[in-house]
């Protein structure tokens, strides 16, 4: 991390390894901890047992194995996918809008998803399961509609520069969808609790279905964002200069925003509106590892996933048998941690 190092900004092996380790620790903890207590060691052995060509006996019974493979693992994987997607989308937005406060909900994804989910819930369609559950589908549609509207309105920004125009139209669209959603929610008070849970976010899964639904979106969107990360560095010199360097700024912004918004829409449709991850994870990575998006984004994928899995453990265990909404946990634990990083990073300079 020494500032005098002369090579170009690049991902160092041990940085990636520490991200991988964070994912592994969070994952094993997520499998081991819960109402039915399983040992860390037994869980690790059970995981190793499933590797091809390896056979070891974890000593876990059939029921415990089912808890790991059918209940806890899907939830851990879902946490990894959602956390990675929200955090990376936040980082990408911060780069493409050159705004440290940009989060993945900037262009109205959250408001649109909340609106879509609320409409599905109040219409009484909310108790389906997995692929047939209309709530995530409706949330996904609402999120995409809101972002598309934001983009269309922002593109006609007149005299404003394109970034400001897009951000402001996001504010307008989000306020509008939130207003409609709140209105509907207040009129249908018997479903208010269900809507409330969606808004605060939770990683409740119905097994592997949600994971299978989300994985392709997350995979493609993360891949696209990671591939344009070098260009996000070039965008740091501003639209005009980046253009004179040969960057097609409009195309670059469109590609990034589409990937980040689509991935975010898919994530929130499954997990609800988990806040704060998209801000604190990329900023923490930036403070610890440097300012180049070439470094920030890949590490954000790993640490974002690990962070959300850890937050989910707290959400499940803190007030058993009830669950705290995970959005409350991410902010409650994330905010003090972020302040700590902010202070130590400043002192190190």
């Amino acid at each position: 991390m020494g500032p005098e190092r002369a090579g170009p900004a690049r991902l160092r092996g041990w940085w990636l390894a520490s991200g991988g380790l964070a994912v592994l620790v969070a994952g094993v903890a997520g499998l081991a901890l819960g109402p039915a207590d399983l040992g860390f060691g037994e869980v690790l052995v059970e995981l190793v047992d499933r590797l091809p060509l390896v056979e070891v006996d974890s000593g876990l019974g059939e029921r415990q194995q089912a808890i790991i493979w059918e209940i806890r693992l899907p939830r851990v994987v879902l946490g990894l996918l959602v956390g990675a997607m929200l955090a990376t989308a936040g980082g990408a937005y911060q780069g493409v809008f050159r705004n440290p406060l940009a989060d993945p909900y900037l262009l109205g994804v959250a408001a649109g998803a909340g609106f879509g989910a609320t409409m599905a819930i109040v219409s009484g369609a909310g108790d389906g399961v997995g692929i047939l559950d209309p709530v995530p589908l409706s949330a996904f549609a609402g999120a995409l509609a809101a972002v598309t509207l934001t983009y269309l309105v922002g593109a006609t920004g007149g005299r404003l520069d394109p970034v400001t125009s897009l951000v402001l139209s996001g504010v307008a669209v989000a306020s509008f969808f939130t207003a409609v959603q709140t209105f509907v929610q207040q009129r249908e008070s018997e479903t208010i609790r269900q809507v409330y849970f969606f808004v605060l976010g939770q990683l409740r899964t119905a097994g592997w279905n949600d994971v299978a639904l989300l994985a392709p979106y997350t995979g493609v969107c993360l891949a696209v964002i990671l591939m344009v990360r070098r260009r996000l560095d070039a965008l740091g010199v501003g639209d005009e200069e980046a253009g004179s360097l040969g960057l097609d700024v409009r195309r670059m912004r469109l590609v990034t925003v589409v990937a980040a918004s689509l991935g975010t829409a898919a994530a929130v449709s499954v997990s609800g509106l988990i806040g704060f991850v998209g801000i604190i994870v990329p900023h923490t990575v930036r403070l610890l590892f440097g300012t180049s998006y070439r470094v920030i984004l890949p590490l954000t994928v790993l640490f974002g996933g690990a962070f959300l899995v850890l937050a989910d453990i707290v959400a499940r265990l803190a007030v058993q048998p009830a669950e705290i909404p995970i959005g409350v946990v991410t902010a409650f634990l994330g905010a003090p941690f972020f302040v700590l990083v902010l202070r130590t990073a400043r002192r190190a300079r």
Binding site: A6, D233, S244, L245, G246, T291
Partner: protein, 258 residues
């Protein structure tokens, strides 16, 4: 053999014409400097060459109208050193110079070893190799200017546009930078189009001076032809004395006595 030809170039912002039909030729390997009072359209002219915001007339680079070229194609022909470059906070010098390679990379491509070599040699050509590991926002004005020029060199474009390259520098560094650019011009066979405020320096380095006033070419020619007491006082609204020196005309402002 790259040349720039401006033919009756018109650029307007919000309906106001900033350039009102400018004709200008930059011969291959030459150094042309555009001078003129604030608001005459100097920077706009350079921005028009790289950005294609031309509303009328045309700008030809190597005979191709700039509007028909993509950003990437333009960037491979013309590199701009902006007047006030935006410095991303915390970015290190080598990474900043590597941004100059953008036009040579595919949309999803990362820099390779060849790009690294180009960036390092650009830095060492500007005697800035020792700065590679520093962050750009901690450099002095003179160091920073050399790093920005290194980024432009890393573009490997045959034409270099310099927008007031000396404005932020003391007179020693002004001379350093212009000497460096002149050396690079012959070494790398570059064509230079610059804008400058300091008329004396402008005359000493350029082969051809073009004076813009209110969006039109007012004078053009050698330094001795353009930098006359009459022309400078008319277009800048200032009283000056021109002293003839073997290095070129020296323009000295003289306080108005009432």
């Amino acid at each position: 053999m790259t040349t720039i030809a401006c033919r009756s170039v018109i650029v307007s912002f919000d309906g106001v014409e900033v350039l009102r039909g400018v004709d200008l030729d930059v011969p291959s390997g030459g150094w042309v400097t555009v001078v003129g009072p604030n608001g005459a359209g100097k920077s706009t002219l350079l921005r028009a060459v790289v950005g294609g915001l031309v509303a009328g007339g045309e700008i030809l680079i190597d005979g191709c109208p700039v509007q028909s070229l993509s950003r990437r194609e333009v960037a491979r022909l013309v590199a701009l050193v902006p007047q006030e470059p935006v410095i991303p906070p915390g970015m290190r010098v080598l990474d900043y110079v590597l941004l100059g390679r953008t036009a040579h990379l595919g949309f999803f491509e990362a820099e390779g070893r060849g790009d690294m070599e180009v960036a390092t040699s650009a830095l060492s050509d500007l005697d800035a190799g020792h700065l590679a590991g520093r962050t750009v926002d901690t450099l002095s004005g003179g160091e920073r200017q050399r790093v920005v020029i290194a980024r432009a060199l890393a573009q490997e474009s045959p034409v270099l546009l310099l927008d007031e390259p000396t404005t932020a520098l003391d007179i020693g560094h002004q001379q350093d930078v212009l000497d460096l650019v002149d050396g690079l011009r012959s070494e790398r066979n570059l064509t230079v189009l610059a804008t400058m405020h300091d008329l004396t320096l402008a005359g000493q380095y350029a082969e051809l001076l073009v004076m813009l006033d209110a969006g039109l070419v007012a004078e053009s020619g050698s330094a001795a032809e353009v930098l006359t007491e009459e022309a400078v006082s008319r277009h800048y609204g200032v009283r000056v004395r021109i002293i003839d020196d073997e290095s070129g005309p020296i323009v000295v402002p003289v306080r108005r006595t009432t």
